[in-house]
Structures are given as structure tokens and as C-alpha cells.
Symmetry: D2
Subunit: 461 residues, 4 copies
């Protein structure tokens, strides 16, 4: 047997064996590069990054964490930059990686949460954001050359950041027709009025662009032609970043998920994207890969939590009554359970990714849906067991577990709550019913023939 790929140390050899032959040489090299970068640069920098972010409620929103800026430079040098942009979708800027390949990258990168918007740009932005690729999609796919020059290039270079502004306060937003923000033309200008929240990145000092979705034609007969998307400079008069919304108590500074008011904000006509009424077209379909990359990240988080738990329960200084923690109660069974959940979650996400690569997101909705409602819950269970193994310390700032849990918890809501995905997967299964009824009828007919031939009267059975 040959030397195993370095990624195997973080995954099971079983799951790697299942996909290895589907990886390009480029993907394997990139992955090895990343594993090395992660272990030698990202992992050791995590605590420093935490410390470099002030606790002061004002200053933490004005800070650019130095160690992350250094990591950005290093990542660029190693070619680990903008990996999330698929060449298939963005030929000009993208990297030739499939969704399956990117899954393993995501799984390893979870740890760079703090760094997300920077090191590998928006890949690992905190939860509740719309999706990592929204700005890329909007600008790289639909932007005019002017828009691209002004916003896309600096975004790709990591010089500025953006906020995608969609979710609205007081609105049941899973039904998109409920959107209320108004976008209307006045002469050569577009005027925006609305009240949004959970706008990820809006609190960041480097954010220079809001990509705002609103209703431009509420009376349009087609519910899917009422929306438009507009580019709004972050410093435009009339924008108020009201406050960060906390998530399970965390403010996720400096990025944050902010409440934002647009009060008669005016931008030039040229800031419209793609065209009037094209809002839905722009955002649709964007969620497929994003969803499973969230899932894969969850698996990385869960793996780290299990490793953390393993260290604790084998720590000689935590012995009680002469026994290691793992020798008490059900600890070993819990570890086995966690391992099993991680492996089954991983395989679900990998098959969803492969399905997307083969059939596009539309042909993979069942697999994406399953991953979406299964994986975050499994990961939460794994992290919860790890917290419990640590006692009070497990819930504190001295371990990352509480923050992990809180972050994962959002994934049962972001990009559609569990219930929505359960319904969609269930509905999709129901579509198999006609075929199954037909099959049953065919079998029954053949069965009858067998009974007749055997001279037996078919009764109740």
C-alpha cells in the first residue's frame, strides 16, 4: 500500500478510500498543501486571533485582527486563495475543484472560523449569512465590467468585504414573496427603503458594499419578477447599522449579523444588477453547494470536538477515584457513538456533493436536503457530549466547545430550518408512490399466476 494522503489523519481512511479515485491530482495537491498550512499556520494562530480581538463592545467592531492579515498573505503565496470559486461556474477567476473535492477542504478549514472572511475569503463565514458565494455569484456572473472592476477585484483580493442584505425584520422570510424593502427608480437614481437584519458582515470595518434585495415591482403578476438586486456602498447616506444580533449570546464580531436600516438610500442607476425584476433569477439555486459546505464544516467541527473529548478523558490529571474519565459510566459508548455519527454524516455529505457534481444542484435536492437536516443535529450531539465530558469548563471560554455548539446550532435554521428540508425530502419520496403501486400490481399478477399453477387458492395472505 502506498503512503496515505495527509488528509486521512483528520478523516477516516474508509471515507477517503471511497472518494480518492475521484480526486484530480490538482485537488490532491491542494488538499495536502492546505493540510500543511492548516496544521502549521492556522491552528497555532487561533488563540492569538481571539486575543487580538478586543472585548470592548465598541472597539471589537473596529478591529482588523493582525494575525489574520498575516495569514492572508501567506495563504495567497501558497496558492490557497479564493478556493471556493469553482472554475466550472466562474471560468475567469475560479479554481478547478469539484464540489466533492471542496468538501474535504471545508472539513479541514472549519477551524479558521475567525479567519474565514480573510484567509480563504468568505468560505467559512459564520452562520446565518446568506452564502459564501453570493457576492461572487452576483458580481462575477451578473455584474457589468464597471461593477466588476469597482467591487469584484478588491473583493477577490481580500481588500474589502461585502454584506448580502436579504432577511427582513418581522417578516416570515422563508416565503420570499413577503419581502417588503422597497427599491424604486427616481430619475437617474435608485432609492432604497427597508429594514433588514441578520446581515452578516455589515458590522465589519472592511465592508464596503451592501448587495441589497428588495421589491421593485410589487404589483407584477409573477411573484418571481417583483424583486431586484442593487449594489449599495456601505457608506451611503441613509444606512444605519443598528446593532449586531447575538447568536446564542455571541456577537461574532467583527463581522456580526447586524440589523440595518435603509432610509432613502440613493445610488446611481448603474448599480442595478442584471436588470429590473431579475432579483429572483440572481439568487435562485445559490443554496445547494452552500448548504453542503456548511454541513461539511459541521463535520470538521464535530471531529475536532471528539478529538478534544478524547484528550480530556485520557488526561491523567483528570482522574477521579483512581480511574481515568473514560473508565467511568458510558464514556466509551459515547465516544463510539460520536465516531459513528461523524462517519455517517461525512458519507451523506460526500454523496450529496458527488450528486451535485453529476446532476447539478437541482438533481441533488434529495441528497442536499438529507444532509441539511441530518448533519447539523449529529454534529451538535457530538459537541454536546464533549462539553459534558469537560464539566463546567466545557461550557466556558477556555474551551472552544461552547462556541462551536452555538455556531452549529444556527445551521439547523440557516438556509432553511430542518422542518422545511424534512418536508421537501418527504415530498420527493412521495413522488415514488405511483411507480411503487405499479410494481405492486405487477408482482401481484405474477403471484396469482404462481398460485394458480400450484393449484392453491390465494386467501388472506
Amino acid at each position: 500500500m502506498s503512503v496515505p494522503h495527509p488528509i486521512v489523519q483528520y478523516t477516516s481512511s474508509a471515507s477517503w478510500a471511497m472518494v480518492e479515485d475521484k480526486f484530480s491530482p490538482f485537488a490532491k495537491e491542494t488538499l495536502a498543501n492546505l493540510v500543511d498550512f492548516f496544521e502549521n499556520e492556522i491552528a497555532p494562530a487561533r488563540k492569538l486571533a481571539h486575543v487580538q480581538l478586543p472585548t470592548d463592545p465598541i472597539k471589537r467592531w473596529q478591529t482588523v485582527v493582525p494575525v489574520i492579515e498575516e495569514l492572508k498573505v501567506k495563504a495567497k503565496k501558497r496558492g490557497l486563495w479564493n478556493l471556493f470559486l469553482s472554475k466550472a461556474h466562474y471560468p475567469e477567476y475560479g479554481v478547478p475543484l469539484t464540489n466533492l473535492e471542496v468538501c474535504f477542504i471545508d472539513m479541514r478549514l472549519w477551524l479558521s472560523c475567525l479567519a474565514e472572511g480573510d484567509i480563504l475569503r468568505h468560505r467559512l463565514s459564520t452562520a446565518l449569512r446568506q452564502t459564501r458565494a453570493t457576492w461572487a455569484k452576483v458580481l462575477a456572473k451578473y455584474g457589468t465590467p464597471e461593477q466588476q472592476k469597482k467591487w469584484l477585484i478588491p473583493l477577490l483580493n481580500g481588500e474589502i468585504r461585502s454584506a448580502f442584505s436579504m432577511t427582513e425584520k418581522g417578516v416570515a422570510s422563508s416565503d420570499a414573496t413577503n419581502i417588503r424593502t422597497s427599491i424604486r427608480r427616481e430619475g437617474n437614481e435608485i432609492v432604497i427603503n427597508g429594514h433588514k437584519w441578520y446581515i452578516s458582515g455589515a458590522g465589519d470595518p472592511r465592508t464596503k458594499l451592501h448587495i441589497v434585495m428588495g421589491k421593485s415591482d410589487p404589483g407584477n403578476k409573477s411573484a418571481y419578477n417583483q424583486q431586484s438586486v442593487v449594489l449599495v456602498p456601505a457608506d451611503a447616506p441613509g444606512i444605519t447599522v443598528v446593532r449586531p444580533m447575538t447568536v446564542m449570546g455571541y456577537d461574532d464580531a467583527p463581522e456580526g449579523h447586524c440589523e440595518v436600516i435603509y432610509d432613502n438610500v440613493r445610488v446611481p442607476l448603474g448599480n442595478l444588477v442584471l436588470g429590473w425584476g431579475k432579483g429572483f433569477e440572481i439568487i435562485q439555486g445559490r443554496l445547494g453547494p452552500g448548504r453542503i459546505h456548511h454541513c461539511m464544516r459541521s463535520i470538521g467541527v464535530a471531529s475536532e470536538a471528539l478529538d478534544t473529548m478524547l484528550r480530556r478523558v485520557t488526561d491523567p490529571s483528570r482522574k477521579t477515584f483512581g480511574k481515568y474519565l473514560y473508565e467511568h459510566g458510558s464514556v466509551i459508548a459515547e465516544i463510539a457513538q460520536s465516531r459513528a455519527e461523524i462517519e455517517s454524516a461525512r458519507m451523506l455529505v460526500l454523496s450529496a456533493a458527488l450528486q451535485i457534481d453529476t446532476y447539478q444542484a437541482k438533481g441533488a435536492l434529495k441528497e442536499i436536503g438529507i444532509a441539511k437536516f441530518v448533519v447539523p443535529s449529529l454534529a451538535l450531539a457530538v459537541v454536546d457530549r464533549a462539553m459534558q465530558a469537560f464539566g463546567a469548563e466545557g461550557l466556558s471560554q477556555d474551551q472552544h466547545l461552547a462556541e462551536m455548539w452555538s455556531n452549529l446550532r444556527t445551521l439547523r435554521i440557516a438556509d432553511g430550518p430542518d422542518a422545511v428540508h424534512l418536508q421537501q425530502v418527504g415530498q420527493r419520496e412521495l413522488k415514488r408512490a405511483p411507480e411503487l403501486h405499479k410494481q405492486a400490481a405487477t408482482r401481484a399478477k405474477m403471484e396469482d399466476a404462481l398460485f394458480t399453477k400450484a393449484g392453491i387458492k390465494k386467501a388472506h395472505l
Copy 2:
């Protein structure tokens, strides 16, 4: 049927019917008084109390929340003061309420979390504290008249607060023999050196007393005579409150659960409690009632979460696709599940309380243990469903659900993690085995006689 007691609006009539005849007239009156006070004074003050606590990381630890001080005065006037002190245990200061009766009070008071140390004094102090009654027990039961005069009276009056200092950093503290803090005599003084954490209340500006547990005689042959308890003024030289430990991201200011260093802290000999080597005697047995009151509080929290969920799923402004939230998916089943869990949790705690009242904590260890490992998990599940029903908002500061969840999560650890209680209850069941083997032998003998009489040979069955 007569008019139901006002508490019924917050509980099921079924559980009230089960215990009503066990309530004294005083308990019923007090409970009605409390329900009224809660609804008209505490509930409306909650948000103001939140706002009156600054977000500044320094100032929030120096603040006495005005609205809570006002509530304290009102509570005293209504006779709702120091209710947690049982007359049975503290004849001089206590109130004639049984544990069963106090359960209902706890269930209703959960909401006054912020106010806990004040309105009803330490009853509802945040999780991870040792127990609400520790200071009362230490001082009222074991204190000298001098100690009582100096500390107990102002504590009972709500003028000062205390911190019980037991848990140690880096120590597997569920095995009490691991304690390392040193308490030794030097002439007429006691010298204390140690490193503690999770010291609830140590951050509060009103805290004037640390009650410190440590090892005074590490070489003593009996592991239970090595510890002593000493009273330490909060401003004694050598005490450093290092930092608050956060719990799932919350700092629980101004009380907090702090890391504290005692570096050659000196107090007079007269600050020793009960005697040298009496530390274990002082703290033992203290956890029984505390544990179930935590549980009952959990049930109050879960009930409020379910009510909150009910309001959301019936809110016309949250309709999607023309349907109320409750008309989607499994929402109704989840509500039913939550109601069932609340009721079963409540009955478990009530029977544990009654058992304590009848047989003392020692005779109720099985019931206490069951409540302890069952109830917090059920309550967490209820709150989690409510969070999910709210979407992202459910995890934010605009609803109390995230804070509730985080607070409840500590109860699976505080006063012994779930696993410890599972083991203890399981071990207690195993003690029934000899009796069961005997019963089986007796039955088998009678069985044989029946077979013989019937003339049938007993084979495999």
C-alpha cells in the same frame, strides 16, 4: 367545584390536584401572593432590568440594577422574603414551608433570574453556584453568634451578598479529596492559599464575604476530616478576582462565576466555622433540596418557553404560504411532546420533594437523582423546539430563549453531571437484586408445586 388557585394558570390542574391537599393554608396564601407579585411586578420589570445593566465589560460588574432594588423593597413589604429558608431547618429565621410547597414557588420564580439574589435572596442564583442555601446553612446552622451578627443578618436583609468558594481550577472536583487549597493556622491567624473558579457571586459589587473550603489537615487518615471552612472578607488583601468564566458565552454579570486566587490571605482565628476538620460535615447533605429546586426552576423555564412558542406559531403576522406556523409540518406534535415532557418532569420533581419532606434528603436520593438527570434534559428539549420555531430570532437577544437554553445547559453539570446521577440511581436499583432473587426462588418453588399437583413435568419454560 371551587375557584382554582391562581397557580393553576401556570401549571396543569392535574399536578395541582395531586398536591393541593398537602398544602398548608399559609403555603397557599403565600403562593397566591407570589403569583400576583410575579405577574404584576417581576414579569414587567424584566426587560428594564436587562437594559439597566450596562454592556460595558467593566461597568456591568460595578452596577446595582435600580429596578431590582425597588423590587426588593416591595417583596419585603409583601412578606415574600427569604422564602427559601425552611423553618424546619432554621427555626429562628425560616418560613414554614415544606419542600413540596417550595417547588411551586420555584417554578414560578424562574423568571426572576436576574433578580434572584435580591428579591428572594439567593433562591434563583444562576447555575453552577454551589447552592442557594450554602451561606445560610454555614452561618445560621454552624456560625457563632459573632459570625451571625456580622454576616448573617445583613445577608438576610439583602444588604450584602456572599460567594461560596469551593470548585478548584485544574482539579477533578467531583472527587472531593482532590481539593488543593491550603488553610493553615499561623499564630492567631488563618492563612489561605488557593486557586478557585466558578465562584458564583464573586464578581458582584455587593459581595462582602467569601466562604472558603480548603484542606487544613491533608495528612489526616480520614479523607473526611481533612477539610475546613473559613469566612473571608471579600476585601481581604491577597484576594484577586481574575475574570468571570463565561457559560455558553454569557458572563452572568454582575454576579458571575469567577476565577479567584487566594494568595496568602489572612483572617483571624475566629473566622473558622464549626471547628478544624469540620469542612465535610458542613457541606455534606446540602445538595438534596438544592438539586430539585434547580429542577423545578427548569420546569418554570420550559413552561415559559412553550408559552412563547405557542404565541409565535399562532401569530398571524408569521404566516407563510397562507398558513399559520402551527399548520406546518410537525409543529403540533412538537407542542404536544413539550407539554408531555413538562408534565412528566413536574411530577418527578414533586414526588422527589414529597419524598424529602417524608424521609429527609438521605431517604430520597433515588428520587432526587432521577429528577436531576431527567428534568434538565427535558427542559432543554422544550426550549430547543421553541428556539427552532422562531428561526434566527429564537437564537438572538430579542427572545429569552437562547439565554434560557444556555442557563439550563449548566444544570446537566452543576451539582454533579448527569452521568454521576445515572450511576447512583442505577447502583441503588442494583441493591434490590437480592430481594428479587429471593422472590424468584419462592415463586419457582410454588410453581413447581403447581406442576407436580397438575401431574405435568416442567421442562424448558
Copy 3:
């Protein structure tokens, strides 16, 4: 403390303490009498009863088990007869026991499954039967003196048995308007045509009476006046008992749950019960107490399963690798879990029973519903753990566990599947919403006043 009641050996002292003061002296005496009878007569006879039932597929349906007939005589002598008939509902024949009191009797009697129809008459008839009291209700409450003389007296004496014939083959019977069996008058006769199944008792050689529900007036505008109930002798021409339906592989002979065809069965007009179109009135409301008695029986079953497990895991002859079974893995935690589930299930059923006693079944629908969807699942989990502790033997005929499990499994369906009860309880909770919205509005108003008074502007929180 006084000597505990003998029932305490089978329950927790905690649950008995909760209800003891609600028991009449008669109930306490009867319960003590029953405990003694159970331990000395029923328990030892169980295996013999099994052996006395032939395995031959024909003969087992023609057998009256001798040891059960002997137990019937003994039970009558001790006054333990027809205990299920409540004096409140059947003044002439009944026993003065409340539902709460009967719960404890049920819990202890579960073991007499085989004997059920006999020893204490229909109380513990196997699952999927309509309900223990159906024939009593139909005859004692609605029967004419002639009907009572002919059928009720011998039923009460245990000389004959009956079958309640309601569920229909191929019909979604949870919607009662779907019933298809035809009951029509022809001159002085009633003619019955229909295809029923799951008719409990129809296979028993002692069954002399079918109580048949059918449609007598399908065109009636009121869906609740279309049905009638008719008394049909078991040997009437036209009745075919087609086969027993097995339940998880068990045929439950000699009683069984049979498929029955009524082909032009004719009975005299006098066999109509109460009147034409009175079918619904007769059967409605009958399920409340029946449902919780099933639940209480489940708890008895689960308790015995846990005792069985305790014996196994402490059996020295089952040691492996030098350790008792209970010293391996999570066995102790599983035992604790089972004990907790049994106690919480018990308290739920007891409060439902008390609620019925206080408010009638109609006023206790929430409590009944909760018990119904919670308790059987908990009991199944307990029995499943016990099976697992025994290994292969646990699934075999050498232990009662497999049969227990299979029997309990039906209770998640009988008298309405879990889902129906979840919906009903959930709907009932939703009715609290208007009150909760009102309360929230009141609180908000008081809150606003507090903010105004404090001179603070109320913002987002």
C-alpha cells in the same frame, strides 16, 4: 413511620406517598388482598397456564385452561371479582373504587395476561380489544332486563364471554363514518352483513355473544345517528370466524383477535340495544378510563421487565471476563434510565386518573392523551433494554420479554395511534394561545410604564 402498604414493594414509595391519602380504606384493603393473591396464586400459576394451552393450531382454540378456572374460583372467594366495574357507573353491580385506585390494581395485575378474561374478567384482555368494559357498559347501562338476564349475569359470573365487534377490514376505522357493516330490519328480525376483524375474544370457546356495531341508517343526515348496536349469539347461522390475526407473530389463543364474517345473520328485534341509531351514543366516551388502564398495565409490565433485567445482570453464572454483566458498558445507566421512565410514566397515569375522577373523562382529555402517547413507548424502551441484556434468550420463549414487547407494541395503535393523541394534545394546547396573547399584551403595557417612569427609551429588546 408506619408499616408501608404491601403495594410499595412493586412501586416507588414516592408515588404511593403522593396518592395514599386519596385512597379509601376499602381500596387499601382490596389492594393488599390483591397483592397477596397475586404473589401467592397468580404469579406461580403463570407457567402452568402456558403449558396447559396446547401448541396445536386447532386445539389451542378449543381449550379452557384448567389452572385459570381454579384461579377464578379462588378470586371470587377472596372478593377479587369484577373489580373493574365502578360503582359510580354501575351502582347495581359495581365496586366502590375510583380510577386512581384502580390504577394500582391494574399495575399489579398485568401479569395475569393469560388469565385476564377470567380471574378479574376482561380487565386485562389482550391488546387491540375494544375495551375491558364495553360489554358491561352496553349491557349494564343500556340493556333491557331481558338482555341483562340472558347475557349480563353469566358474563358477570364468568360463565360466558363476549366479543365486541367493531373494527372492519379494509376500512380506515379511525374515521367512524367509514363503517360499512349493514344492520337492517326485516319484519321482526334484524339482518346483519359485514366483514370485521380484530374482534378480540371471537376465537374463544366460551364466547357466546357478539356485540355488533354497524350502519342501520347510512342516509341519516347526522353522521352520529347512522349506527346501531345489536346483540348476536356466537352460534348464529351466518357467522364465520375466518382466522385469528396474529400480533407480532402471536395468536393470543384462546381469545385471539379474529377476522369474522357476518353473512345474513338474523337475530330477533329484541336484540337491538337502546334503540335504532343509538350506536354512537353507546360507544362514545368509553375510551377514557380504558386508555389509562392500558397505560397502567404497561407500567406493571415494564416494572417486571426491569426486575427481570436486574436479576440477570446480577446473576453470578452470567459473568464474562470475570465481571458481572452490570459491570460492563452502560448497563447501570440503562437501569437508571428504565427506573426513571417507569416512575415518570406512573406519575403521568396517576394524574390522568385523578383528573378523570375529578372532571370526568371529558375534562381529562389532555392528561389521558399525554399518558396514551407517552407511556407505551417508555414501557417498550424498558422491555427492549431488558431483552438486550439477556441476549438471544431475551427474544425467546424462555423469557416473557418478547411476548411483553409484542403485546405492548399494540398499545401504540389500540384506542388511537400515537399520532392521533399527539395531534389532540397539541390542538388542546393551541387553545391557550388567545389567553397567552392577552397576557403578553398586559405585560408589555406594564413594561412600557416602567420604562417611561425610568426615563429610558424602549428599543429592540
Copy 4:
């Protein structure tokens, strides 16, 4: 895209996509052949096979089901014979299929339960048997030419059957040193005395061979050299097949899992296999592939159960209150849950199979263990939901669900109960601890360097 392989109709296209490139052309053809054979021959014959097995408790053990004999002939003709024998292990007789490939075959063949010993020989023998390949391993790998001629050839031809006799009554058999059956030499004969049970196949009229494991050298210092294996003709004097052990009420005739007594059974010396004291060597390692094939079969069962449920909930004749069953309560969510569980179970088994193919069973113990403790429970949950959707009928003989469930339940015990596999997987994870401690130390060192470089003192974090 090309035409999908016919197996896709029974699996998800996602899981097939993951492995398709690992399938040989022979495997793909065989699989297509099997799918066709299954759909057109096996599925329609199932009910007839049931009917052709008498219900009489004696005759059902003497019957060779005609339709199964016909299917055997057809299967041989189509080359679907002895597929379970891997060419890798049995070059002379085997088929060139990997474990991964065989997984899909198993998944499809679950339905031929009744036929198992025949159509594809021992592949799908009912649960609790030792393993499908035991006889093949014993004879093909270790048998002398004489032994092979006499027993192996007719076994391979399906003319006779065998029983592997290992589990002992009253013995905690998971600890193999507990085995008590005595195997000793007397002159030219071997004498066997022992009491076994759960001997699968011992009840079958076609069984001509018992392969008996026992202790030949109890005093041997090595616990692994005390055992020997002997071939015993089924009609040898001294063998008594006492009774079949039922499994959740099912007797699994005509094969059965029987209790067998060996009372001074004598066979010639030539019937010893491999050599004295070689018993452990013979049986060790045999369980790996067997375990996952059981798991894969579970997935086939679960898939069929879900299909059955889908048919029911979309059946117009089961509407209640004007709605399809799937429109009520949580049915759609349950379907989605079942689909997710099936897919995750499938991926776990497939990766275990691939791991065996790559690293042998020994190198795949973690993956096998995970599959073993996860998959049967998931499958049971799926079948349980399907039963529940059917109401009482779901538990009856008119649907296969109750039998499926009962059969699956054994898999949580057979080949090691869940708890054993949880422990083994957990222990295996614990072995990663030293590496994790080392990694943590390395990271901490690099972290310190970063802090130093940044001029920041590293405190608590």
C-alpha cells in the same frame, strides 16, 4: 448520461454513483441478472412459499417448500448460485466478487429470507446463525479431500444443509472460554457431550451435518488452544433436537434455531477438522464480512418497509376525514427521516465493505463495528414507522412488517450485541489519544511562539 444500472431503482443513485467505478463488469452483469431474477422470480414467489409451509407444529419441520426447490433450479441455470463464496478466499469454488460488490447483492436479496438456505445457499439464513459462510470456511478451507467430497460438494449443490453448533445453553457465550461441550478421543473415535442451543438449521429435514465446536483440551495453558471442531452426521445416535427456540414469537421453520443435546455422540477420528486444538483458528476472523452482510440485508429490509409505507400513505382507500394518510401529522417528516436513515446506513456499510476489501477484516474492525451497532437500530426504526402507518394490520401476518421487525431485532444481538461493538469502537478511538496529545503539544508550542512574537502574554485562553 447513460442508462442507469437497474439496481438504482432499489437504491439511491447517489450511493451507486459513489461505488459504480469500483464494480467489475462481471459484478455489474451479475447484479443486473439478480435484479431481474429477484423481480420476476423471487418476489412473486414469496407468498406461495409461505403458504406451502404448513402451520402444523410437526409438519412444518418436515417440509421442503416446493416453490423454493424450483427457484433453486432456476437460480443455478442463471448462474446465480453460491454467489456468497468469494474467489479470493475459495479459489476453487468461489465467484470473483468483492465485499463491496456483494453488499449490493445482499441488499437486494433480503426478500428471499424464506429461500435463503436454498436459492443462494446460506447467504440469507435467518438471524442468530453463526454466519453464512461457516460451513464453507470449515470445509473448503480446512477440510480434507475426503471431508470435502462427502460434505462440501453436496452442500455446494444445495442437496444437503448443515448446522453450525457453537452457542451453549446457560453459558455467557460472548466469553468463548466459557464453552463446556466436551470433545474427547476414545480409541479411534471422538466422543461428544454437550448442550447447545440457537443451532440454526438443526430443525431442517435436509440438514445432514452438524459442525460442532467444543473443548478438547480444557487444561491447555493457552485459552485459544483448548477448542476443536468436529464434523457430526445429523443422524448420529445421541443427538436430540429438543425444540426450536422462538425469536420474538417466530419459529423460523423449517430451518429454526434449535436446542440440541449431544449425549455420547461418537464419530470416527477422521471427522476432526484441521487438528486438535485448532478450533479457535478455524472460527476466528469469520465474522467480519458476515456482520456487514447482515447489515446490508437490514438495509434491503428497511427499504422495502419504506416502500410499503409509501404505498399505504398514498392509498386513496385509506383516506380519513378527506385526507390521505400522508397529509396527517408528521407522516412526511417520518418518511424523510426513514429515507435519511437508510441512506446513511447504506453508506456506512459500503465503506466498511470497501475497507475490508482493502485492508482485510482485521484492518476494518472500526468500520465493521460502527455498521454493526448503527445499522440494525436504524432499520428497526424504519420498519417500526411503517408498522405504525398501517395500524393494527401492520403488526399482523397480512403485512411482512412484523416479521421483518422481529428478524431485524435479532441483529442487535447476533454476532455480538450492540454494547460489545460500542465498546470495541470506543476503545479503538481511545488508541488515538497519544497522537492527539502529541499534536496538542506541538500546536501549543507554535502558539506560544506566535504570542511571544506578537509581544502578548498568554493568559487563560
